[in-house]
Symmetry: C2
Subunit: 333 residues, 2 copies
C-alpha cells in the first residue's frame, strides 16, 4: 500500500509540474502571428472558457475536438488544389503505358493545354482519366509516388515546395489548441493518403487524425504477401454534406471548434455550432492578393459564397488573411 | 531566455517523474490475470523489445499501433453477436409501426422462432428486415436506443448486462500497452456506433479509435438543424479482407500488434505480421466451456479455422482462455 501511495503522489506531482509548465508556455505568447482583433480575441476567449474547470462552459479534454479543413484553410489551394496538380502529373507520367489514351479526348485536351476543349468535355471524362492514372498500384507504391512528387514539385507562383505553403498562423493555432488539451483533426475534401505523408511534420497531426475522401482499395494476397491495391473508384467523398458524415464515422463526437474556408465546409461548420454549450466556427477569408491570393464568391477553387452569407447570423468568425495575420508563410517576413 | 530554460527544466523534471512512476507501475504487476506461460511471456518480451530505446527492435511511440477485434476478443460473442441480439430486439420494437411485416416471411419466422424456416430463407431477407428496423432515425436517436438497450438487456447464459462480459485479462493488456506508449484501436466487424457508447468506459478506447462496419448516413437540414439520418444500407463491412482496408482508411499505419479470435481476423493478422521489424499477432482460443464457451472450427459465430491453421507457421500466439487466463469476467473469482 505504501508503494501505491508514493506512486500516486509522484504522479500527482508530475502532473502538477507539467500543467504549470504548460500554463506558462501558453501565457508567454499565444498566437504570435495573429494581429490583435476580433478573430484572435474570439479564439483566446473560447479556449479560456472551455478549459476553465470552474466555468459553466467547461469541456472535458476528451470532448475538446477541433476539426480543420486543409486546402485553403491550413495551406494554399490556388491556382488549383495541390492534389489535383499531383494527379495531373500522374497522367503525364503514366501516358507511355497507356497508348489507348491517344484516342481519349480528355487526355488530348490536357496534352494540348486546350482549356476550351476541357470545359466543353466537362469534369467526368477528366476525373475518369485521373482515376485511371492514379490506380492499379499498391498503396505503398502510391505513397512513395506522393512523397517523390512533394520532394520535387514546385508551386507555380511561389516556386517553392508545396509543403512550404502551410499557413504559420494556423500552425500556431493547432499548437495552441493542443497545448490546451484539444485533439486536432483534419477533415478535408482531399484524400487522406495525399495528406498523411507530410501532415504530421507540417501540422503535428498524425495519420489517424486525418479524415478525407477515400478511394476504393482491395485486399489481396500476392506471392504470399498481403497487399492493398488502389481501384479507379471513389468510396467516399468527404466534402460538403460528406464532411459531417466523415466526422461521424471517423471521430464519433461532435467537434466544438471547426475551421474552414469555403462552401465545402458549410455543413461542417453547421454541425459544429448546432451542438449544445459553447462552440466556435471560423472561416479563412482569402483577401490578400499581395501575400497570397484574393478570391471568394466567384472562384472555381475554394468558392466561398453561401458560408460567407451564413457567417453573421451563426456568429462564425471570418478571419481576414490581410488584417488578422502578421505573416502567412514561413518564408515571408 | 531564463524563463525558457526554467520551463524546459520543469518539463524535463515532470517527464522524468512521470516516466519513473510509469515504469514502477508496470514493474509492479504486469498482466496479473494472466497465468505464466508462452502467451504472457511472449507479450511481455515483445513490449520490452519495442520500447527499449537502445534495442534494435525499438519502435517510436507514434508507430506503436495495436489493433483489437471486439466480439470474442475483448468481450463474449455467444450465443450470438450481441449487436445482432440488439438489432433483433429492434425488429420486435418496431413491429407495431410496420403492419406490412405481417406478410414478411423473415419476420414471421422470427416471431414464431422457427429456426428451420429461417435457415431455409437464408440471410438476405433477415438482414433486410434488420436494416429496416435499424434505420430511418437520426444517429442521436439510435445512440440513445443502444444505450437504453445496454442498460436493460441481459445475457441469456450469465444473466448480466452485456457490458459485464468484457474479458479482464484483455482489459489489463490494453492498459499495459497504453502504459508502454501504445495507441490502442478496436477493429471490429460490428458497427462503430454500437461500440462507442460503452467502449471508452469498458476498455479506455475513445470513439475516434474505433474502426467498425459503417451504415450509410445522410446529412440533412431539418427545421434549420443539421441532422444525420440512418439509411437501410451498409457503406462498409469491416470484416475479413475489409479489416486491412478499415485500418488503412482510418489509421493509415500498419499495426505492430494485432489480436483477434476468428477467421474474420485472418487478414488483419496477416497485414500486421507482414510488416518489417518485430511484430506480434495473437488469437484468443475459446476452449473454456465451464467459465465461458468452447468453440472454434464448427461454430457459426466466431468461427476459428483458417486462422488457427495459419498460426504456427506465422508465429502467431494462440491464447488458451482455459490455461492462460486466471479469470475471464470481473464477476467471476
Amino acid at each position: 500500500m505504501r508503494r501505491g501511495s508514493l506512486l500516486r503522489a509522484l504522479t500527482t506531482l508530475a502532473l502538477a509540474i507539467a500543467c504549470a509548465a504548460g500554463a506558462w508556455a501558453q501565457a508567454q505568447a499565444p498566437l504570435p502571428s495573429w494581429n490583435e482583433g476580433a478573430a484572435k480575441s474570439g479564439i483566446v476567449a473560447f479556449v479560456q472558457a472551455v478549459t476553465d474547470p470552474k466555468g459553466k462552459n467547461f469541456v472535458a479534454p476528451a470532448d475538446r475536438i477541433a476539426v480543420f479543413d486543409n486546402d485553403g484553410t491550413l495551406w494554399a489551394e490556388q491556382p488549383l488544389y495541390f492534389q489535383f496538380l499531383f494527379m495531373l502529373d500522374q497522367v503525364k507520367k503514366a501516358a507511355p503505358q497507356h497508348p489507348e489514351w491517344q484516342q481519349n479526348a480528355a487526355f488530348n485536351a490536357l496534352a494540348a493545354q486546350d482549356k476550351a476543349a476541357l470545359e466543353k468535355l466537362g469534369t467526368k471524362p477528366l476525373l475518369e482519366l485521373l482515376g485511371q492514372a492514379n490506380s492499379g498500384m499498391t498503396v505503398a507504391e502510391y505513397d512513395k509516388t506522393i512523397r517523390d512528387w512533394l520532394a520535387t514539385a514546385r508551386h507555380p507562383k511561389f516556386e517553392r515546395p508545396y509543403t512550404d505553403l502551410t499557413y504559420v498562423p494556423m500552425r500556431e493555432l493547432l499548437d495552441y489548441l493542443r497545448a490546451n488539451g484539444f485533439k486536432t483533426f483534419i477533415v478535408s475534401g482531399g484524400s487522406s493518403e495525399f495528406m498523411r505523408p507530410w501532415a504530421e511534420k507540417a501540422y503535428g497531426i498524425p495519420p489517424e487524425q486525418i479524415v478525407g475522401s477515400q478511394q476504393e482499395v482491395k485486399f489481396e494476397m500476392k506471392d504470399g504477401k498481403p497487399v492493398l491495391t488502389r481501384e479507379a473508384k471513389f468510396a467516399f467523398v468527404d466534402d460538403g454534406p460528406g464532411k459531417p458524415v466523415g466526422i461521424y464515422r471517423h471521430i464519433g463526437k461532435r467537434p466544438i471548434l471547426a475551421f474552414g474556408n469555403s462552401d465545402g465546409d458549410l455543413q461542417m461548420l453547421q454541425v459544429t455550432t448546432a451542438g449544445e454549450g459553447r462552440r466556435l466556427a471560423l472561416i479563412v477569408h482569402h483577401d490578400d492578393a499581395q501575400r497570397e491570393f484574393a478570391y471568394d464568391r466567384e472562384s472555381h477553387v475554394g468558392k466561398l459564397d453561401k458560408a460567407l452569407d451564413a457567417a453573421p447570423a451563426n456568429h462564425w468568425l471570418v478571419v481576414s488573411m490581410q488584417k488578422d495575420w502578421k505573416r502567412i508563410f514561413g518564408f515571408q517576413q
